[in-house]
């Protein structure tokens, strides 16, 4: 087990390096650079001023030199400064926006899991029932409906027509003079719609996944054996089948970890939530190289860690899979 772990972790290093090289090159190949996007076609910007900016941001260096400078800095955990006019360290900018994205995504994920599994089980055990058909319908609607459109409709309904919920942002304008209870209630109200949109989309996929996973397990021999033993159906489902049906969900969980910080550009933009998704999207548009690279590196590390965790937890949960065990029958 330990040997396996060490091997996996060591393997991450070349993978990560490869990812950074590819990202760095692709990003630089995209047309435009941060200075161009700030100054292009602006008559107030003279050629001399532009040259100075290019040198200031180190954009006059060849790509391989730039990469190694970047790599050297990153090895000392220095991800550099943003090329936006605020020039702040990119880590600071990311850290500032991490909590809200993490918070919304974790809440959404917990809700999705908590709802998807029961829905999956119910529609699997009552295959073909009205409930199953209803969830199937929902899944198709959920997949097909663009989330920004649904978001706008809900904003119009709950925000404009009914006036029950705020439309965007995280706090009301006068939040600074609210008592603690009022303050958190206000914050919660602001989160209802974004979290709902996040859950609505995520639930569609995961409930389907839980359903098919359950259906597969129910057909297994050991479930038939359990039934043959005369166990009550609930016990068959919840003791014998469910545990095994949940295993693939571990993989999903592992793969979801990078998504926790990814955030959704659409949700964050529409609801004016200052999260990482917005930041990353804007940094790509403005070719803020250091910020893009930092986000990509963090995303890559989390993806790999997530994969590793998924594999490990799989092994822990399922005695049939023992990593590092040789042969065995």
């Amino acid at each position: 087990m330990t040997a396996y772990l060490v091997r996996r972790v060591l393997l991450m290093i070349p993978t990560l390096l490869f990812i950074t090289v590819v990202s760095f090159v692709v990003m630089r190949l995209a047309p435009g650079d941060p200075v161009q996007l700030q100054t292009e076609l602006n008559p107030r910007v003279s050629a001399e001023a532009r040259e100075r900016l290019i040198a200031y941001h180190g954009l006059d260096k060849p790509i391989h030199v730039a990469y190694f400078i970047w790599l050297r800095n990153v090895l000392t955990l220095d991800f550099g400064r943003s090329s936006a006019p605020d020039g702040r360290p990119v880590i600071e900018k990311i850290a500032e926006r991490l909590p809200i994205t993490l918070f919304i995504n974790v809440i959404s994920f917990v809700l999705v899991l908590g709802l998807a599994v029961p829905i999956g089980i119910l529609s699997a055990t009552r295959q073909g029932s009205w409930l199953d058909r209803l969830t199937t319908l929902y899944v198709f609607v959920g997949y097909a409906m663009p989330s920004f459109w649904l978001a706008l409709l809900l904003m119009i309904l709950f925000g404009v027509r009914l006036g029950w919920l705020p439309i965007s942002g995280l706090h009301s304008l006068d939040a600074y003079r609210m008592g603690p209870f009022e303050y958190w209630l206000d914050f919660g109200k602001h989160l209802v719609l974004p979290v709902f949109i996040g859950v609505f989309g995520g639930l569609a996929g995961l409930s389907r996944y839980a359903r098919s996973s359950m259906l597969e397990v129910i057909r297994q021999d050991y479930v038939r054996v359990a039934r043959a033993k005369g166990l009550p159906e609930t016990r068959v489902i919840y003791r014998h089948a469910l545990r095994n049906a949940l295993l693939p969900l571990l993989t999903i969980f592992g793969l979801s970890i990078p998504g926790f910080i990814g955030g959704s550009v659409i949700i964050e933009s529409i609801f004016a939530i200052p999260g990482l998704g917005q930041l990353f999207y804007q940094s790509v548009l403005s070719r803020d190289y250091n910020l893009v690279m930092a986000s990509l590196v963090i995303g890559a590390v989390l993806t790999m860690v997530g994969n590793l965790l998924a594999d490990l937890s799989y092994a822990v949960a399922n005695p049939q899979i023992r990593l590092g065990a040789k042969g065995g029958d």
Partner: protein
């Protein structure tokens, strides 16, 4: 949709003209003309208090105007600081912190005498030393600023006494005055010797302006910035207690926030202005204003392409394109046609220049003079070759794409085959505009308050990365532009630019299409708004107020 919005933000930063955002989801409902009861009838008394909340698609990145190019930074800096001169609502220069301005007869030396009652919010007097320091920071090679250009022309800047600042130029440069109107001061006593881009001042400034940041927490990154009135503002009482800017990246969301009172004012798109703000509810709470924006849209030709080199061909295009149709179709009527590059409300505007009303017959006559004739299939042909070209524009700007499509149809009617190709912004600039690889393009310029247009039209400005990318070369225009930028005398300048417009209207290096209007809605509780041709913003900090009964956000200590 997201791309389009962000494109607009980028264009805003690039100083290009743009009207509204062009969200075309004009829903049901029409123009609401039912008179409604005035919910906010009284206009006084003037009182301090309340907050004005606005939305911004992007966040300011610094309070130092020359470090941040985006409009959000520029607005933040404008609220907290001052400059020697400024433009009034007739787009004419007037004194701000300067008490007098003297230009020597040779035009090479400008002396500013400053008011003595201007103070930084920390109590320090604002002096010529601050102006000199700001200038030095601007031209310092270590300062990352896109805006050093005009200031690098200064040969020598000096402080004669604490309230007198003088600059010398190598030759007379009239737009220099404009550059001093843009040059908002930063405090020498706080920033001397500091690393400007990294100094905490960028996010927690001390200014001289009508508004101020009280404490760093007033700026919640990514969410909102609250500026408070400066109780000791030197120019007079500032009435509105707080200016809150909320970051709302999506324009649809901003509009919903406007309707529900989440924000108090916003720029509207033509469909919003026309179709979505006519309800009784909206009309009873909001006042709408429209005024000319400072940008114009044009169809530019690559003048190195022999087909476009004859002036008559370009004039023919101007006749063949129905500008009013573009204004109606794209801007829902909110715009004005133009035939030379000067805004109609500018003091140098020449109303008598040649115009090009839609006249396809006249266009065909002109084409025929040059040898372009219609063949049996109706195509416009010369030497056996049909007239066929491509119009490029930047992707994401729906208004420009629609403009191109309207032009495409009108030109098809006279036998010219036009294809329209939207291209992503960075590639558009790098691969097409800079390299001269285009036949025609649709873009917009923002017209600066100073009438000088040297860098756009002078024949010396056709190099890579320069702005005369259509390669317009005209000796008379060259001479006029040179004279115009070296003449300070107002009447002489006016005469020069009148002639400039006459030549441009004849030459049509672009087909100048239209100046879109800026469309604006603001909550009715705000009083004291003085509409002017160029907008409502001039001196708004001294003029606007909310009478006590209507104050929404109560005063707080």
């Amino acid at each position: 949709m997201l791309t389009r919005r962000d494109m607009l933000r980028l264009l805003g930063a690039s100083g290009l003209a743009l009207g509204g955002a062009g969200c075309s989801n004009a829903g049901a409902g029409g123009r609401e003309s039912t008179p409604v009861a005035d919910l906010y009838p009284i206009d006084g008394p003037r009182a301090i208090g309340d907050a004005m909340v606005s939305g911004s698609i992007g966040e300011a990145s610094t309070f130092i105007w020359f470090l941040g190019g985006e409009s959000a930074s520029s607005a933040a800096s404008a609220a907290i600081s001052n400059s020697l001169l400024r433009y009034n609502d007739r787009i004419e220069l007037e004194r701000e912190v300067a008490e007098s301005v003297e230009v020597t007869p040779d035009g090479e030396t400008i002396t500013f005498r400053m008011r003595r009652d201007v103070r930084w919010t920390d109590g320090h007097p604002c002096t010529a030393d601050d102006v000199l320091f700001t200038y030095e920071a601007l031209v310092d090679p270590a300062t990352p600023t896109p805006y050093s250009g005009d200031y690098l022309l200064v040969r020598k800047a000096e402080v004669l006494d604490p309230y007198t600042f003088r600059v010398h130029y190598d030759k007379p440069f009239a737009p220099a005055l404009e550059s001093w109107a843009f040059c908002r001061f930063i405090p020498a006593h706080l920033l001397r010797g500091k690393d400007l881009p990294r100094d905490p001042y960028n996010r927690n400034p001390v200014g001289t302006g009508p508004y101020m940041l009280r404490r760093p927490e007033d700026w919640v990154p990514g969410q909102q910035m609250t500026l408070w009135r400066n109780p000791d503002y030197w120019e007079g009482t500032v009435w509105i207690e707080r200016q809150v800017t909320r970051i709302i990246p999506d324009l649809n969301t901003q509009f919903l926030e406007l309707k529900t009172g989440g924000i108090d004012a916003m720029g509207l798109t033509p469909p919003q202005f026309r179709f979505q703000t006519g309800t009784r509810e909206f009309v009873s709470h909001f006042e709408k204003y429209r005024y000319l924006s400072s940008g114009y849209t044009f169809l530019g030709f690559n003048l190195r392409d022999p087909r476009f080199q004859d002036r008559r061909v370009r004039q023919a295009f101007a006749y063949a394109i129905d500008k009013d149709e573009i204004i109606r179709g794209v801007y829902l009527g909110y715009g004005k046609p133009l035939s030379a590059p000067t805004r109609p409300d500018h003091w140098t505007y020449n109303p008598n220049v040649r115009t090009y009303p839609y006249d396809p017959a006249r266009a065909l006559e002109l084409f025929a003079e040059v040898g372009w004739k219609r063949d049996a299939n109706g195509r416009l042909v010369k030497d056996g070759k049909p007239f066929r070209f491509e119009i490029i524009t930047n992707q994401g700007n729906q208004q420009r794409i629609r403009t191109a499509e309207i032009i495409q149809r009108r030109l098809a009617e006279i036998g010219i085959e036009v294809s329209v190709r939207p291209i992503e912004w960075a590639a558009f600039i790098n691969e097409f505009v800079d390299k001269g690889r285009f036949e025609a393009l649709i873009l917009g310029w923002n017209m600066a308050p100073d009438p000088d247009q040297f860098i756009i039209w002078h024949s010396s400005q056709t190099g890579p990365k320069q702005f005369n990318f259509v390669h317009f070369k005209n000796p008379e225009v060259d001479r006029l532009l040179e004279e115009g930028r070296s003449t300070f005398d107002r009447e002489k300048r006016k005469a020069i630019y009148w002639r400039f417009q006459e030549v441009m209207a004849e030459e049509q290096p672009y087909v100048f299409l239209c100046v879109p209007e800026a469309l604006f809605a603001i909550h009715k509780r705000f009083k004291g708004i003085v509409p002017a041709p160029s907008g409502v913003g001039y001196l708004s900090h001294l003029r606007w107020f909310v009478p006590p009964p209507y104050q929404k956000w109560t005063r707080t200590a």
